[in-house]
Every structure is written in C-alpha cells, then in structure tokens.
Symmetry: C2
Subunit: 495 residues, 2 copies
C-alpha cells in the first residue's frame, strides 16, 4: 500500500476515519483528501480557523488542532501576517520504491556472512556515541508510558516483594500468558494461556522457532531485504538463507516463494514479517497473508512469523497476524512487547503450534523463565484499558513523526530519491538515486553526528547498497530537520 499516491492515501484515511480517531484527526484527514484530490490546490489560501469552526460546528481548540495536524504533515504553510496556505508535502513528490523482479529461478541458498559487515557498522557507530541515532528501530522513551509503568512496578513490588527473590514460573508468569491470550483474541488469534511462552524479546522467540524446525546446514526462506537481526540469527545457527524478492508495498512475493519451494524442496521454513516489515515498512494485504499460510501448509514448510510491529499498524481494525489463518499448527507466531509497550523490559512471546513441546524444552534449556517483575507489570498494563489508549497515542505520534521526516526527505534529498511512506511504525526505507552508495553515506554522516542504517546489512547480496533505513524515533524538531538536511546534502555529494 503506497500512501503517497492519492488513491491509497484516500483509502488509508477512510480506514482511519472509521476507527475511533479524535474529531480533529478525522477533520484533518478530510482536508488531506481535499488537498490530495486537487479541490484545494497548492498555493491556495486555507479557509480560516473561524470558517472551519462554523462550517464543521467545532470548537476553537479543535479547529486549531486541525491546522496544527495539517501543518505538521506538511499540508499547510504559515505565512507571517497572511495566514495559512495550502501545499503538498514534499514527500508526495517522491517516487515510490521500485517493485522487485521475480526471477524464473531462485538464487542459491547461501550461508549468511554478514557478521563482519554488521560488526563494522556497529563499531564505526560506537565511535560516535553522541550521534543522533536514525539507524535504530525503537522509538524514544518519551513515546512510552514511562510513569505509568514505573508506578505500576512499584505498586506490584510492594504487594509481591518476593517477585525478586522467588523462582519464577516455567514458561512465563500465568498472569501475563493469560493477558496475552486474551488480547490475541482481538487479532483473531485463538491461543490458550498454556500455548503462550514468554521469551526474552522477539529475537529469542525467532531463535527458538528456528532451532525447533531446522538443523545447522538447513535452508530457510527469508524476505529480501530482511531485518539484519534475523540474518545474524541464521548465521549464528549455521543456517542458509534463501532470499525471496519482497515488494515494498505488499510484502513477500508469493510467486517467487512458490518458485523457490519448487526449486529447493530442502527449504525447512519461511520467516516473514507480515505487518510493517523491517526495513520495508509494508503490510501484507489479508488475502496474501491467507495465501502465504495456505502455501506453506500445502508444501509442509514451517511458517515463522515475526511480529514486533503489529500493534503499530494504523487501520480501522487490528492488523491480523498470519497465525489467525493457521489451521494445522504450522505457523509459529513470534511477538514482542519491546516496540509497542516498553523497550527496557525485554519481553516477547510466542505460540508455537505443533512445535510447542520442543520449543518449551529449548527455552528451558536456553534461558529458563524470564525475570518476573517485568512480566507482572506487562500483565497488568496489557490487561487494562491503558494499553489501547497508549497504543493510540503512540500510533498518532509516530505518524506525525513519519510524515514530517518524509516531508523533510522530499525537501532535502537529491532528485530521484524514492520512498514509500508506511502505514505505521517508525522506519523509512529510502532509495538513493543513481546507485549512490549507502555505505559511503553512512560513513560521511557519522562525523556530522548522524547515524543511519545502510542497506548493505539487510541482505547477503549487494542488492540494497543504495538504500538506507531511516527511523523517526523522536518528535520532529530542529535537530531532526537539520540532520535530514545535512544527510540530503551529503547524499547529493556522493558518487
């Protein structure tokens, strides 16, 4: 889904409007549609605040919020003493990222050899500890319910001080497994608390899933580009990666996967991030999710879904995970609370279908149960209405941050830069024009105090060497603006 062309923008806004968005948000969406469709053209004067108030029968504060929202997104420009004028966000001039070619034959599966490359990137970045980090994938602490969680933790500790000094429950605290199972229902996933296994983040869940279904030397089909952490896991487990072309709008190519499964019957599992893929930001349409589950079931291949970002998808209905189409236990669902709830608590969970017993054994042998306190805090927060209210705010803030960053990229980056604005999350996948080297940009940016993620770490191939992944972890401010302007300048100067 490309949100920068009008059609999808409209449908996205419509979907959003159905949700219980606040009034100002729905009105802002209305005006985005009006501008996107050309009814109000760039340069036109925007109707006044008073006009909005009387036309839509809203309060002064609501009308002002509509103006703010539109200005944040780059749809309005204030001219001193003259009022607000319509503009199109600079991001809307950016072309979308090209769709991948689907080759007739898949590439050979290869052992992952990215460790050196990734280590070098991390080491170089560590030499600039004060750099603005646009290379991460986690939002700043200000976007999370810090105070609420802190007071919850203190209260829980007062009532259950032995959480710190008593051996925890195998497989995870019953309270948290219960809360997670209940919440999973809202995404059409039916899972018993006993099927939920609490893990040390999503990354441990994916590790356990792969160890359960594959042996060293086996081949795993992955998205291309893929989350570099997944490639590191494959490397550390001695597994081979077969990279499957992945669309920046609709995700893993089922056509290419079908070809690969036919050509390489030794593929043991497919790993996919169906919602807000990292780094692409795409969300698979539901029909394709269903097809993917059916395809893997037909071929007898394990399907591992990695879901750290599902709750960050903006849509009228909660985004569905692949697991919601699973009929025979062939899908291992791996989720994380580190992006949606609290990055410092390192909580993840998984539901492992027919590999449940083996995964439990592996988890027990690998790290035992998780630390207890964070589990109780998460259980109470997720079980309360506070979680949905927090997610609502988080998604709103991330959208504003994403749009403002995209707008700045549109303004500052060289002509020919491409970008798809994802329907959620904090990651932007940017194609530099004319094959500019993102490794060179990464190097050039560090001395300017800016850290980015070069495309080279997202694949065993050289395919993404002129892509960068930028994150929007904090509210867009002058520092962000200056950083993106600087990046744009540097990008222009690179061969």
């Amino acid at each position: 889904m490309n949100l920068l062309n009008d059609e999808s923008l409209l449908s996205h806004d419509r979907a959003h409007a159905q949700a219980d968005a606040p009034l100002y948000e729905r009105l802002a969406a209305h005006y985005r549609r009006v501008i996107a469709s050309g009814t109000l053209a760039p340069g036109d004067r925007m109707p006044s605040v008073r006009a909005l108030m009387s036309r839509h029968k809203v309060s002064l504060s609501t009308a002002i919020q509509v103006f703010r929202r539109l200005e944040d997104g780059g749809w309005l420009q204030a001219r001193p003493r003259a009022g607000y004028f319509v503009r199109r966000p600079a991001a809307s001039k950016l072309a979308t990222v090209a769709e991948p070619d689907i080759p007739v034959l898949p590439e050979p599966a290869r052992y992952v050899g990215l460790h050196e490359r990734i280590s070098r990137v991390i080491e170089r970045a560590q030499a600039f500890p004060d750099a603005l980090n646009l290379g991460g994938a986690t939002a700043g602490a200000a976007l999370y319910p810090t105070e609420r969680l802190q007071s919850l933790a203190s209260r829980i500790l007062r009532h259950k001080p032995t959480l710190l000094t008593e051996v925890g429950e195998d497989g995870g605290a019953a309270e948290l497994r219960q809360a997670i199972a209940k919440r999973a229902l809202t995404a059409d996933v039916t899972v018993a608390p006993d099927d939920v296994l609490i893990t040390s983040g999503g990354v441990e869940a994916v590790n356990l899933a792969l160890r359960a279904v594959a042996q060293p030397g086996d081949t795993i089909a992955v998205e291309s580009p893929a989350f570099f952490g997944l490639l590191q896991i494959l490397e550390s487990l001695g597994l081979r990666a077969l990279e499957i072309p992945t669309s920046p709008t609709t995700g893993l190519s089922l056509e290419a996967l079908d070809i690969a499964l036919t050509a390489c019957p030794e593929i043991k599992a497919v790993v996919a991030v169906p919602n807000l893929q990292n780094p692409l930001g795409c969300v698979m349409p539901d029909t394709r999710k269903a097809e993917l589950v059916a395809l893997c079931a037909r071929r007898g291949v394990a399907l591992i879904e990695d879901e750290p970002y599902r709750e960050l998808v903006e849509a009228a209905q909660p985004a569905r995970p692949l697991k919601s189409w699973d009929r025979d236990g062939g899908v291992i669902h791996c989720a994380s609370l580190n992006k949606a709830l609290a990055p410092g608590m390192r909580l993840g969970w998984m539901s492992s279908g027919r590999w449940h017993a083996r995964v439990r054994l592996l988890k027990f042998a690998q790290t035992r149960h998780n630390e207890s306190l964070a589990q109780f805090v998460a259980a109470e927060f997720i079980g309360s209405g506070a979680y949905d209210r927090h997610l609502h705010r988080l998604r709103d803030k991330l959208r504003v941050q994403r749009e403002a960053s995209a707008d700045a990229i549109g303004r500052y980056f060289p002509a020919g830069t491409r970008l798809n604005l994802p329907p959620g999350g904090l990651l932007l996948w940017v194609a530099l024009p004319d094959g500019r080297s993102s490794d060179a940009l990464f190097e050039a940016a560090l001395p300017h105090g800016i850290r980015i993620a070069p495309g080279s770490i997202f694949s065993n191939s050289e395919r993404f060497r002129s892509f960068i992944r930028l994150s929007c972890p904090v509210p867009f401010d002058e520092r962000m603006d200056a950083a993106l302007r600087q990046l744009g300048r540097l990008a222009a100067g690179i061969a």
Copy 2:
C-alpha cells in the same frame, strides 16, 4: 572434603574460625571439635550455660546461642528438667559415598537422550503441585534479602523511570559489569568490565559458551553425575557427552579426564562445576583446580566452568574459580546471581577469554541485552557492603539447614545409606543402600506430598539409579522432619 569424619570436620572448623565468624559460631565450632574428638562423649552432660559464660567470658545471650547452634546441628539434646546432653549427630553415623572407579578406557561419548526421562519426572511432579519440593536447587525466598531489594528497586525506578522504557545497554548495564568486575577481584579473578557479559542466568551463559566452542556432533567432557540442566543443554544443541568419573569429595577425576582426552582427541571442551558441584556438593581442592586448568591448556581444550554456587562455599577465604588460574584465555567462566542473590531476577554473567567476541555476537543474536531494572538493582546491592552481610547470613542458615537435614537422614533412612555433607549450599547427594531404585522412591514419595530428584536424571547412564538429590531450601521444621521420616520409611520399603 568429607565433613562427616572428624579430621575434615576439624580442619573445616578451623578454616571457618579464621573467618570473621561471630563469637558464638566460633565457640560452637570449638565444642563440635571437643565432641568429635571424644573429649566429651555421647551421653555426657554438657557444661551449663553459666559454666560456659564464666569459662569463656561471654554474655548470657552468646552462651545461649552456642547451645542453640549445637542443638540445631544435632550435637546436643535437651532432656526436660535435666539439662543438655552430648550426642553425635545421626548424620555422623552415615558412611560416605564411595569414590568412583577410574576405568582404563573412557566410555564412548554419546548423544544425550534424557529429555523424555526429565520431562516425565517434571510432569509427574507437576501433578502434585502442593508437594514439599526437595527436588529443586534454589533456596526459599525467606533466605534472600527480599525487602532490601524491593526498596532498592523502587528507589532506582524513581530516579531512573526510563529503565523500563529505554533500550538497554548491549552486553549488560555498565554499572553491573563494573560491580561484578570489582567483586571478581576478591576471588583472584582479574576481569575488565568490558569482558563481563550479562546473561539470563547461568544457564544462558553455559549455552553461549558451548555454542562458541563446539558444533553439533562434537563431544564435550562432563562430570558424572552432572547437573541435569547441562545434559539438557547438550541434548538441545546436538552435542555428545563423555561422562568423566567424579569424586564426591574432590570433584572431576583428573586422571580419568587425562585418559579421556588421550583416547578421544575430538573432545572440544570440558564443563566442570568446581565449587559445590551439583549434585555431589564437592569442592575441588585448589591444587586440583590449578591442575585442571593446566591440563586443558596443554591439550588445547576449552574449559567451561559453571559457577552458580561459588559464593555459598564456607571457607576462610573466598573459594577460587578455575578462571583465577587461567593464563591464556582458555577458561570460560559462567556465573549466576540466582542462587546467591535473587532467584527471581534471572541474572548471570560470563567472562569468555579468547571466545569473547564470538560469545558477544551469539548473545546479541540470541536474546539481546537483559532486562534493565534487575541489573541496576543487582549492581547497587553487590557494590555495597550489604552483599557480604547477606551472604554471611545465607551461608549460616544453609549450614544449619543442611546439618539438620543430614541428621534427620541419619536418624530415619535405612542402615547403609551414604551421604557426604558438603561445605556449603543446599544440596545433599544420598546413596540408598542395596541398590534401591530412586525412581521408585521418587514415585512413592509424590503421593505423600514430597518431591525429590532421582539420580537417574543426572547421567546418560544408569549409574546413579540408587542415588537421590535432596535439597534443604527452608529452615528445618516439623514439616521437613516429617518429610524425611516418611522418605526414610518409604526407602526402607523399596526393593
């Protein structure tokens, strides 16, 4: 070191007396020596409280504590209206566990196939959730500094609320790595904070160590009997175990290890628990520790030391880990805070010598960094004097619990039962007489509300089928006494 014969009891007491033990403890040790040497014989009347006060120039309360201590350990018996009489603890009648044979040729290395056996034991035990658990290896919450840790946690959270919502530090919080490195100095281990890697318990550390030095199919030399968790790790990683005979008093047989390393040059690593081995409870003498390190260095074999219980050893000086003799980075030191500090916080750490970089990569790919709050709590506690005070109390309490349990076993178990009382910790390794089946005892005890660990889960062989591991997790009370009496009765009735 067998503490039940007089010689070692004496030297143990002497060692203890050198430490900063409280006065009553030193006096109690004195009287144990007096009784053990026969100067005061069983049945003799103990000098009165007043006599003690004037003879040793101590207060009433100190004299009373000496009597309590001796009574707890089974060295005195109160007769109503007649005073205190000397006895020998029943445990002292128990013979020690036999030393293992050292075969001329090692057994073949075998893949571990214990999963079914261990799962069955755990499943059976879970059917009796209210049973008194004497099958675990962790002390009850009452023995840990629950309140102190709780108030520390609340205070730290107030000062650093974003610990919950900010991404933690790679490799572990600098504060904790610093505190651990400093404390390691007291055990003659010189390690920089950057060499310390924080893990999810000792079990993750051992996993990472094995993954760093071995590939699936490789052979690992382990103690026999070994901690069942280690055998599960080997099984889950597809590694072969070569069991090395291990003395219940001096630990891993170096003679047998030497034979094994010669006969099987394909051995990739040795895993040993030098201090308070689980299940044996033995502590390797320092000379043998040094020899083991030298032997492995000479043979070019990695030495993984698993050290969850080191801080629980009772001795004048802190017990030394193998790592303190490491000269070439060939020792991977794996430690845990779960037994010494706080079972609910799931903290461990490791120092990986020449495998440091590879271990760091594996940890990052496997679970990232640990949850933050527990790390800060541990850092502050370990860095303060409170840790040593807590350990002192913990060791004292565990000794009382161990001795009381051993005494009860001496009273209640069938003649011919053997036992070595370990110099620390909470585990007792008991040999049932006449080859009685410990699996049968395990089964028979559950309906009576008692859970024990049968010897069969501590080896790939059938060698330990008439051993049980009993723990003394809580202060000895009537429930413990009744349970051990019942176990003794059941053991007597088993073929």
